[in-house]
């Protein structure tokens, strides 16, 4: 009993001593250190939230947050001042929310699997971006409409607006690509109809097809109202159309399977296909006409063309004929013809258009090389035949004949001696 009492007294003294020391230390803690500690704890939680993968780890983070709340409660006034305009409560609430969202995500992954959750998030993220782009595109379309009414509309303004729309089109194409890539990772067949519906609901069904259709609509509208753009601009637009076609052919039908109700599917797809055809026709017409005009303005009369094959054939025919003509009769005029074509080819077509022609699959590098080789040949053949060369040739023939005569004479003498 006595021992117990001594033990109890000693324990009590120890507790008091520890408590007292703790109190002294707490009393003289540096405010700066408190702030440093808080920043470190805050950063640790954020770092943990980036990597945690199990609900146990989420619980650990929640415990850490509880500890932080009790540790810094007494320093709230100080931290509120030094964290201004944020507050301690604000920071803690933010960490709690992040932890909650992370925990929720981990739980969903547990239920649905990683791929589906990642896909849902990606779709949600893209939908937000797409909405933003849509709003900007609407505003740009309004500007375009206003320009149509305005007499002072000019090509430069149209080009600027077009560039903005291009960014948006490129985004939509990328978005659809991205969604499709994500879908490819999911075995849609393995999902139940309800799961598939749930997945599709993540994004407004109208939006996906709506976005696709709006790219087509915007381009048709633009091409119908802006014919003043340069060849380069039209070739760029051709590239957009080609890229869109690639996307549409790859995944348009598959997306429609997911996002359009069966009863309306064929009608919806038909409507888009019709518009895509119209877009193709318009850009074809605009691009080939402006390209043909550009050659004509440089006094290069190509045979008429209205598609990439005809264009390439027309170029080849023009060059083959020129080479054949030059072979028969190289002349200063032929050199001039060559120079005119070469100036345009090396000064405009290659530096300014080659990139877009290749991107839009209208020509290949090999096509360009072939044309370059033919130009080299044309250049050689086009040179006029020089009189000096003819004289030299004549002298050479005379010299050969003289030498031959001398040789024959010498041979005749040898024979007669024998």
């Amino acid at each position: 009993m006595e021992k117990l009492t001594i033990k109890t007294v000693l324990a009590t003294l120890l507790v008091l001593a520890v408590g007292f020391t703790g109190q002294v230390q707490a009393q003289f803690q540096s405010d700066f250190q408190i702030k440093q500690n808080f920043d470190r704890d805050h950063a640790e939680v954020l770092e943990a939230l980036k990597t945690i993968q199990t609900s146990d780890e989420v619980n650990e983070v929640n415990e850490k947050l509880n500890e932080m709340e009790s540790r810094y409660r007494d320093s709230a006034t100080l931290l509120n001042r030094v964290l201004y305009p944020e507050t301690l409560d604000g920071r803690m609430t933010n960490l709690r929310e992040l932890t909650h969202v992370t925990g929720d995500r981990i739980a969903r992954i547990g239920e649905k699997g990683d791929t589906i959750v990642v896909l849902e998030e990606r779709i949600s993220e893209l939908t937000t971006d797409a909405t933003r782009y849509q709003q900007r595109a609407d505003s740009l379309n309004n500007q375009l409409a206003a320009m149509r009414r305005s007499r002072d509309a000019n090509a430069a303004q149209a080009r600027r607006l077009r560039q903005e729309l291009d960014k948006r089109d490129a985004f939509i194409i990328k978005m659809v690509d991205s969604i499709f890539v994500a879908y490819e990772k999911v075995d849609l067949q393995s999902l139940s109809p309800a799961e598939r519906r749930g997945l599709a609901l993540e994004i407004d069904a109208q939006n996906v097809m709506g976005y696709i259709e709006s790219v087509v609509d915007n381009n048709i509208s633009f091409l119908n109202t802006h014919t003043e753009l340069s060849t380069e601009d039209f070739l760029k637009l051709y590239g957009v159309q080609v890229e869109f076609n690639r996307m549409w052919e790859n995944m348009g039908y598959d997306l429609a399977q997911v996002y359009v109700a069966e009863t309306r599917r064929s009608e919806r797809i038909g409507s888009i296909v019709e518009k895509v055809d119209e877009w193709q026709m318009l850009i074809d017409d605009a691009a080939w006409t402006t390209l043909s005009d550009a050659f004509a303005q440089n006094n290069i009369e190509l045979a008429p063309f209205s598609n990439s094959l005809e264009f390439y054939t027309s170029l080849n025919t023009y060059l083959d004929e020129a080479i054949a003509r030059a072979e028969d009769n190289g002349s200063d005029e032929e050199v001039e013809n060559y120079q005119r074509f070469a100036d345009f080819w090396f000064g405009t077509v290659k530096p300014r258009w080659q990139e877009y022609l290749i991107e839009a699959n209208l020509m290949t590098y090999e096509n360009f090389n072939t044309i370059d080789e033919k130009l080299t040949e044309w250049k050689l053949q086009a040179q006029p035949t020089s009189y000096t060369m003819l004289i030299l040739l004549g002298l050479a023939i005379v010299l050969i004949l003289v030498l031959l005569a001398l040789w024959l004479t010498a041979r005749g003498r040898d024979v007669s001696r024998k």
């Binding site: 002294v24 230390q25 009393q27 003289f28 803690q29 540096s30 405010d31 700066f32 250190q33 702030k35 100080l78 001042r81 030094v82």
Partner: protein, 154 residues
């Protein structure tokens, strides 16, 4: 009868009165209840020229002369300098190894030393300032000092 002399005197008095009136009407305004207290001390590392700064607060100054005063000519700069501004606008500056806290008053593009407070014979080991208006608390391990612009408060 008012003579020319009286008129001149009257003129001079009028001019003097106008001058006094003009001076009295000049811009004069004092804002009161200003609280300069910096909520948390600044901890800054001197650069090779002895400059320290707190980007957040937008203040920088040179501590070379202060270091010479504390440690003598040719001594190396401290690894860190700690400073804090009190409610009445005075800066309290010290550093690990220093025996004193230096109190400065703000002047136009200068800090004017107003007080040197001796706090440790052996030099401070790990000093830190806390804002405890109207005092500045200096803690060093488990030792506490309460400072005012005039010296130790306790």
């Amino acid at each position: 009868m008012i003579s020319m002399k009286h008129l001149r005197l009257l003129g001079n008095i009028s001019a003097a009165m106008l001058l006094v009136f003009a001076v009295a009407c000049g811009p004069s305004l004092t804002l009161t209840d200003v609280d300069y207290a910096q909520p948390i001390e600044s901890v800054a590392t001197p650069d090779q020229n002895g400059n320290v700064q707190d980007v957040r607060l937008g203040i920088s100054f040179n501590v070379t002369d202060l270091n010479v005063k504390e440690r003598g000519e040719g001594s190396s700069l401290p690894e860190e300098v700690r400073f804090i501004r009190s409610i009445d606008g005075y800066y309290f500056v010290t550093a690990p190894g220093y025996r004193n806290v230096y109190v400065f008053k703000v002047k136009e593009r200068a800090l004017d030393l107003t007080e040197i407070i001796r706090v440790s014979g052996a030099g401070l080991a790990n000093p830190a300032f806390n804002q405890r208006s109207p005092y500045i608390q200096l803690v060093d391990g488990d030792v506490e000092y309460r400072l005012t612009k005039d010296g130790l408060a306790n």
